[in-house]
């Protein structure tokens, strides 16, 4: 159940209205007038809540849920307990997301500039933007309509931030142009100096990092993640890409559209991710590589060669997921007590 200390639920609606709003299908004979008041997980839902089922691991919770209705794939419709309405969708998690958005519409922060914010006279801040306490906006920066710049965040000189983007508390944005509708979480660092120097025993020599960072539209960047600016071209994060917490993206990296990059992953300099690549947690990708469109890289994988489009990789160094599983099966067999002895 949502935490009522922090979130306000909207008004109840009928199941029929909700199904319509989220493009889900009510089975014949279901009661479209049933009232739905909230969203909740299977094991905590009451008879006024909508829940969802997608991961088979939770099948026993489905079979015991007390929810008013459950979003699920039609194949599982007959696993729903009596009295619970099966609400059919081929993408139940997506439909649940839309339902939750419907009940919990973000209370918009309303526009004002806090008197403790320090905004350079040459910066242009849209009059509908919210700038919270202790924020610093430097010379030449531009902040679009409806932006929210949270407390103590820093927007460095000449940075551009598109409409409707939110910058989290204490974040630092420098040397970058950020698109509209992005979510930049607290503690993110964008545009810091790339880790570039010529190694030399007499003292490593800094290579000036003269590129910026281009962040597309609708990008999410997780708490305390870091994105370095390019060396002599820009680092790029494509539209709709979602980046989790504590991710490191090196200088000159090009991340395509709709990519998903999970926590504690690092991408070294000048590597290219084509569109819709998924990197699970703690992945490492060496520099100067190309990861093909739609490739999926398993958690903890270490990539040291180009990856073709659509490939699924695992291991260090990475091989195909299939080969990785075979390697583990072989190792398991060889290391079983008694293995290798003659019978």
């Amino acid at each position: 159940m949502p935490n009522k200390l922090f979130f306000q639920c909207g008004q109840p609606v009928t199941l029929g209205e909700l199904a319509n709003h989220i493009s889900a299908v009510l089975p014949d004979g279901a009661d479209a007038s049933k009232l739905i008041a909230d969203v909740s997980p299977l094991d905590r839902a009451t008879d006024q809540d909508l829940s969802f089922f997608e991961n088979r691991r939770y099948l026993s919770q489905l079979e015991q849920t007390k929810a008013a209705a459950v979003l699920l794939d039609p194949r599982f419709a007959d696993r729903v307990p009596e009295g619970v309405t099966a609400l059919l969708s081929d993408r139940p998690y997506r439909a649940f997301a839309l339902s939750a958005q419907f009940f919990y519409q973000n209370a918009e922060k309303s526009g004002a500039i806090h008197p403790t914010a320090v905004i350079d006279a040459s910066a242009i801040v849209d009059e509908t933007a919210v700038v919270e306490a202790g924020v610093v906006v430097k010379d030449g920066a531009r902040i679009g309509a409806g932006c929210v710049i949270e407390d103590n965040a820093i927007i460095d000189r000449n940075v551009r931030i598109g409409d409707g983007t939110k910058v989290g508390a204490g974040a630092y944005l420098g040397f970058c142009e950020v698109g509209s509708k992005c979510l930049i979480h607290p503690g993110v660092r964008i545009g810091t100096r790339g880790f570039g120097f010529a190694m030399d025993e007499a003292g490593h020599i800094d290579v000036p990092q003269l590129g910026g960072v281009q962040v597309g539209v609708g990008v999410e960047i997780g708490a305390n993640s870091t994105i370095d600016r390019g060396m002599s071209e820009d680092t790029v994060i494509g539209d709709g890409t979602k980046i989790d917490n504590l991710v490191q993206i090196g200088h000159n990296v090009k991340v395509g559209k709709g990519c998903v990059i999970v926590a504690l992953t690092g991408i070294a300099g000048s590597t290219v991710l084509e569109d819709y690549v998924v990197l699970a947690a703690q992945v490492g990708i060496a520099g100067h590589l190309r990861i093909g469109r739609g490739a999926q890289i398993a958690a903890k994988c270490g990539i040291i060669r180009d990856v073709p489009p659509g490939a699924r990789m695992g291991g260090v160094p990475a091989v195909s997921i299939k080969q990785w599983l075979r390697q583990h099966a072989v190792l398991e067999k060889l290391s079983r007590p008694g293995a290798g002895r003659k019978k």
Copy 2:
């Protein structure tokens, strides 16, 4: 030797008093009136310092130490040089910790609200709390007795912080209730949006993250670590759990009591750690798993299945530590130059 630029040592005490205070045993004939003035590591201790021995790697340092007294297990009492008193304890490191606490009692920061702090009129800050420069406390937040909120930290709306808790510089706490006597280090992010969306080529759909974070009593959270709020229930960190720097804890995770989670580890969404689990550094745990009470997971391990209570695991994907060692022995043997050739 402690760094005197930053730490003030208390008054000397006799060995007898100190032994009594920390429940250590002075051997028969030892001089209980010897004065102890400070704590120090074996190789730097002077004849007024107390030191300790627990890791055999430092045995040669023990045999050459110039300390006044050394806390150690009785088995090693005869390895102490002449003139050095062996102070006996079956948990010498714990006893040393108590000794160091005795000599270096934290100078309490005394209570005041810095004039640059921005505190909403509806927030309730106990009159004994310290609120430093540039701190922001939002509407409805409550800060308990004796809390210290360090410079530029941000306490978001409706957050509750228990008595005696310290929030480090620049940290962000949102959507959470934090127990008493916690140590939240600089740059920590609590309550940020969980990494939840329904993947979709037409644009990944945000799943509203409507839970909070519950942090127990006596919890430590290391610098720049991140703890996401739950999706529709709270993320939970149990009493007495210690979390190191740069750790990522995903939405809905439940961490039990007394757990230890070392740096750069990530725990994916909805996973449960029972009490007293230890995760060494750079561990990754997949989502929706249960790690049994007292399980110990080796550094860099990748967990993709439930772990039974008390198990000790290693490798990616994880196996028992024993099996992991066998796997490495097998690999080593097979890859030795000449392996596999006929003689």
Copy 3:
């Protein structure tokens, strides 16, 4: 091409002057009067730009570049297209770094203390230092000549910062002495409490962390990296060492001179890195170890034993790179479909 929104290029110079400045060699017959106006990568350079070639992966870019001149090793001089001048250097990347520094001299921030900075009366801030908005400088701190302390950074009590050091936005420096000419990036945490406690089911006992952190001259510390203070001696980072983003360095660690530590790496307590050690990304090093001078550790490697000087290691747990490659070859062979079957 450098991003002109953020970086200003200096005046053009002749190829002869530039070659002289960076100690590169113009081949006989080359036109020393050619004007060079900027630096750029091979694939984007125009006929007024200097570029460089060092990684063979970019050989086809070299053969098609439109640059005015390319810095490269003499062995590749004949791969340069007609009309492009080969500018010879045995360390072309280093020479390029010097060229970029030449064209893009940092506009120095000029000295002032922002009125919103909170500086304790007992702190000593050199009159040539820049202290930006929202910065907090505590009692007894000292900040040297030409330092730049960026917005919302925090300098805790008694901290010393050497001349010409830059502290990034929102960073926290406590319990430390930092040398001159360091680059401390945004969000860095120095001097936080080491992760030290005596484990105990009745409640883990804090071991007071009474050491500081010593940071040498010319050290770079990447965004959101964390360096804990020592327990009873100082944590040390040697002169000229370069640390990337999101790196964790534990209490009492001693890092030598000229080391390079790449992103998401963790070093556990009391470990010693001798000079010129290189740790690639996501490396983990256990506590109480010694890594010999010049050792190179591959990405994702896990080190659990001492490493001799000059060694090159890979794998978890680490073996020599050679042995690691053999292990993978063996595994690959054994797990090939059909392996082990009789013919």
